[in-house]
């Protein structure tokens, strides 16, 4: 079973994501800040982390870079409400693609489910 970590400080967004992903047969954990995410990522294994960019204290970007250092096998999906967001070069270097960026609000969460599956199976990678 694919293990997913949802990082979002918006409770409503966070809980609904967890619910939907669980309904879609993922094993899901959630945290509301970067520090918690790092602690949990080190402690437990996750296939994918779904990261909101605007987080208190550590931003989503910084979290991804830090987590990548600490847990090199972890994959990331960015889920953001910031319009016009662009992947930074550092993020690109660690393998993030525009396909891994999902804009809030999504019309259909199944898109995200498909995105996670592809990311884990490595289908989208050349």
């Amino acid at each position: 079973m694919i293990k997913v970590l949802v990082v979002d400080d918006d409770v409503s967004v966070c809980k609904s994501l967890v619910g939907f992903l669980e309904d879609s047969n993922f094993e899901v954990a959630s945290v509301s800040s970067g520090e918690e995410a790092l602690v949990l990522a080190i402690k437990e294994y996750f296939d994918v982390a779904i990261v909101d960019l605007r987080l208190p204290e550590i931003s989503g970007d910084a979290l991804i870079l830090k987590a990548h250092q600490l847990v090199p096998g972890l994959r990331f999906i960015i889920h953001t409400g910031s319009v016009g967001y662009r992947l930074s070069d550092e993020l690109k270097q660690i393998g993030l693609l525009p396909a891994h960026v999902f804009m809030k609000p999504m019309d259909d969460l199944n898109e995200l489910v498909e995105g996670i599956k592809k990311l884990v199976t490595g289908e989208e990678e050349e």
């Binding site: 409503s12 309904d23 409400g81 809030k104 999504m106 969460l109």
Partner: protein, 768 residues
């Protein structure tokens, strides 16, 4: 005889002619002499004649007496036939000297006795007289006397007397008479020679004076009056005449001097020539004008020599001059402009007045020539200046209309012609109300501006031209210099500027919306995500399909089938869908608002706009929206694409979005209009204009009012019902065109007729 007319004249005429040559003095003497001679001779002749006749009467009487005596004496001898006695008796006649012969005849005619004086012995046959009495025959006086006795003729006595006595008497008287006459004539001559001077003297004096006047042409002399008779009157008349002549002479001389000085000093060249072109006379100005040394040099020329070969209009001078001359001869005078030539060949412009005149039965041409080279040059300069000024005024992009105090047009520039369609010459003198009704209301301003000497301005005056609203600034400048009262009204069409201002306001509004959207997008998107995601989770969890649903339902003592049935029965799924739809629309609004922020990540490439437009039309044609109640397939598409319109560097998808938006809006608007005559249609135009590509998307829908037109691009402004439009479609289109593509987007609309969206795109946005 020679054929001399003088010879043919009668002598009297010759005599009169001869005498006519004499002086009055001689004539007077002659007349007096003739008159005195005639009087003397007549008197003398009468005297002699009287003596002659009285002597003859006396002689007859004497002879008759003698005959009576001798007839009585002879009776006896006759009766008694005493011849000797008779002869003796007759011889007694010897004492009576004049009797030269006496004859006594018998009644039968035979001679009875005779007597002859000794010195008259020649044989003189006795004349036979039948008549009684005395008769003068030749140098003789003869007498026949019948001797009657008792009524019976017994004999006839003839007496013949000479006239010596008569002649002697005449001789005696005639000589002294002649001497007397001669003496009288001499006296008469002397007297007349003296006295004639009384008459001839003053005449001679007058004649001398007249001679002097005529010889010296001195009309100032006056004759001295010597008497009060006719000659005195003549003298008066002569003097009066002289006075008049002198006056006239002075006047004539003054006039002549006046005209001469006019002629000589006139700055106008005056020249007299024959009709054939021979120059007869020329004044000093003419000589100077043609650059001659003296009149002689000029006179040696002909009028043709003083003209160049051709006139400025290209006609040969000679031919044209003949025409001018013909006109002058016909009308009496002719005035025209002419190119003349100086004697050195230098040409000059002149004004010529040809007068045809008569001078001693001959037609001559009096020409006044004025050099107008300077004037021409000034005129040329003036014309050039006027053209320049008029050019400047006409080049102005503003309407410039000059008016007087009464509002009549005094000037009308080309822009005014363009705007009103009235030509300057048609507008001149008409009132503003006639030719520029829009400005009629400005007359009060004109009066005020002139009164206060300050320009007055009305800004942004709206007026409708062909259904379109145009804006103008109207400025009234008073004209107060040089006594010209009036004003210049300047009208600037600021429609374009107003539109641009409107556009800029739109852009500013949109940008601020964009900025706002960018700032709040995150804050809105998160709750939206919360809503949409939770709703989706809810939707999943109240229907069949998830193992967890079955499991939880079971724990809850029910089945998911029941739950789903309940949800369906309660109509919850459409509600959930509605929540999701609303959430998506809110998300779309935010998304649209975000497009108002400047972004530069778009991909621009050259595109053929006509093709792009066609592609969009095709796309929209398949869009059959029952909900929005329009059917694109019923709309006619009229394409008016110009050929050779260059490609435009643009973001195709964005432009397509604009076209799609416009076409959909148009279709929707047309669906709200009821068509009776025509069918709904789009006119699509692609053309090159002002170095830009212009795209028109024109519909014949219901159109819009001015208020709507002004606000149509404003964000959140919509004419559609709530929920039908976001109020951002046209704003986004506008933003795409103006901000993303550096183009312009405007809209023209006429209520009831339709709407035209006009897009101008630069061929390369980066060069604009």
């Amino acid at each position: 005889m020679k054929n001399n007319p003088q010879d043919g004249k009668p002598w009297e005429t010759q005599a009169i002619r001869l005498v006519g040559k004499w002086s009055i003095k001689r004539k007077l003497v002659l007349i007096i002499m003739l008159v005195s001679s005639a009087v003397m001779i007549l008197t003398g002749g009468a005297f002699i004649a009287y003596q002659w006749f009285s002597e003859r009467q006396r002689m007859e009487k004497d002879l008759a007496g003698l005959a009576d005596i001798y007839a009585e004496s002879c009776k006896a001898p006759l009766i008694w036939n005493y011849q000797k006695e008779a002869e003796l008796l007759l011889s007694n006649l010897h004492d009576y000297e004049p009797i030269v012969r006496a004859y006594l005849y018998r009644p039968d005619g035979s001679l009875f006795a005779k007597y002859q004086r000794e010195d008259y012995l020649d044989d003189f046959p006795p004349p036979v007289f039948q008549e009684e009495g005395s008769h003068f025959v030749g140098r003789w006086l003869v007498m026949r006397k019948q001797i009657i006795l008792d009524k019976e003729t017994i004999g006839v006595l003839y007496l013949q007397s000479n006239l010596n006595e008569l002649y002697d008497l005449i001789k005696q008287n005639a000589v002294p008479l002649a001497v007397l006459i001669l003496l009288a004539l001499v006296a008469a001559y002397i007297l007349s020679a003296k006295l004639q001077e009384v008459i001839s003297g003053p005449l001679y004096y007058l004649a001398k004076m007249a001679g002097k006047v005529s010889q010296n042409e001195d009309y100032s002399v006056r004759a001295v009056k010597q008497s009060d008779d006719e000659i005195g009157q003549l003298t008066d008349a002569f003097n009066k005449m002289l006075t008049q002549v002198e006056k006239r002479d002075i006047a004539l001389r003054e006039s002549e001097e006046k005209y001469r000085s006019l002629y000589d000093t006139s700055r106008d060249a005056i020249m007299i020539s024959s009709t054939t072109g021979k120059i007869i006379s020329a004044n000093p100005s003419t000589i100077e004008l043609f650059g001659c040394e003296n009149e002689g040099e000029l006179i040696s020329q002909t009028t043709a020599d003083l003209c160049p070969e051709f006139q400025p209009d290209g006609l040969p001078s000679q031919k044209k001059y003949e025409e001018m001359l013909k006109l002058a001869l016909k009308k009496g005078a002719h005035f025209f402009e002419w190119k003349h030539k100086k004697i050195n060949g230098e040409g000059f412009d002149a004004e010529v007045l040809l007068n045809s005149m008569h001078l001693q039965d001959e037609k001559i041409i009096h020409a006044s020539i004025r050099n107008i080279t300077d004037r021409k040059r000034n005129e040329e300069e003036l014309r050039r200046l006027r053209n320049l000024l008029s050019n400047i005024i006409n080049s102005m992009p503003s309407v410039l209309v000059g008016v007087d105090m009464e509002g009549r047009v005094t000037h009308w520039n080309r822009e005014a012609e363009k705007i009103t369609g009235v030509k300057a010459n048609e507008a001149q003198g008409h009132t503003l109300a006639d030719v520029f009704p829009q400005l009629t209301g400005e007359m009060e301003k004109v009066a005020q501006a002139i009164r206060e000497c300050v320009p007055l301005k009305d800004e942004k005056i709206a007026n409708e031209v062909n259904g379109e609203v145009h804006y103008s600034d109207i400025t009234v400048y008073p004209l107060t210099s040089n006594g010209i009262e009036g004003a210049v009204i300047r009208v600037d069409d600021i429609t374009e500027r107003v539109r641009i201002e409107e556009m800029m306001i739109q852009s500013e509004k949109m940008l601020s919306v964009g900025g706002l959207a960018a700032g709040m997008a995150h804050e809105i998107n998160n709750p939206l995500a919360g809503i949409l995601q939770n709703v989706q989770v809810i939707r999943n969890r109240i229907k069949k399909g998830l193992p967890k649903n079955d499991e939880v339902a079971d724990i809850c003592g029910t089945t998911i089938d029941v739950i789903e049935k309940y949800v369906i029965e309660r109509g919850i799924f459409p509600m959930i869908d509605s929540v999701m739809e609303s959430g998506r629309r809110a998300s779309k609004i935010v998304d649209n608002m975000l497009s108002f922020s400047r972004k530069s990540d778009s991909n621009f490439s050259p595109h053929n706009l006509a093709a792009l437009l066609d592609k969009t039309v095709e796309l929209v044609s398949n869009d059959y929206d029952l909900k929005k109640k329009y059917d694109f397939r019923k709309i006619e598409i009229l394409r008016k694409y110009e050929k050779n319109v260059p490609e435009v560097i643009c973001e195709a998808s964005k432009l397509q979005q604009v076209f799609l938006n416009l076409l959909k809006n148009g279709a929707q608007a047309m669906s709200e209009k009821k068509y009776t005559e025509e069918k709904p249609h789009f006119i699509l135009r692609v053309l090159l204009e002002e170095q830009m590509v212009r795209i028109d998307i024109e519909d014949n829908g219901p159109g819009m009012d001015e208020m709507t037109r002004k606000r149509i691009f404003e964000p959140f402004f919509t004419t559609k019902g709530v929920g039908l439009g976001t109020g951002l479609g046209l704003s986004v289109s506008y933003f795409i065109i103006t901000e993303n593509h550096n183009g312009r987007m405007t809209v023209d609309s006429i209520m009831g007729k339709g709407t035209n969206f006009i897009i101008h795109l630069p061929m390369d946005r980066s060069t604009q």
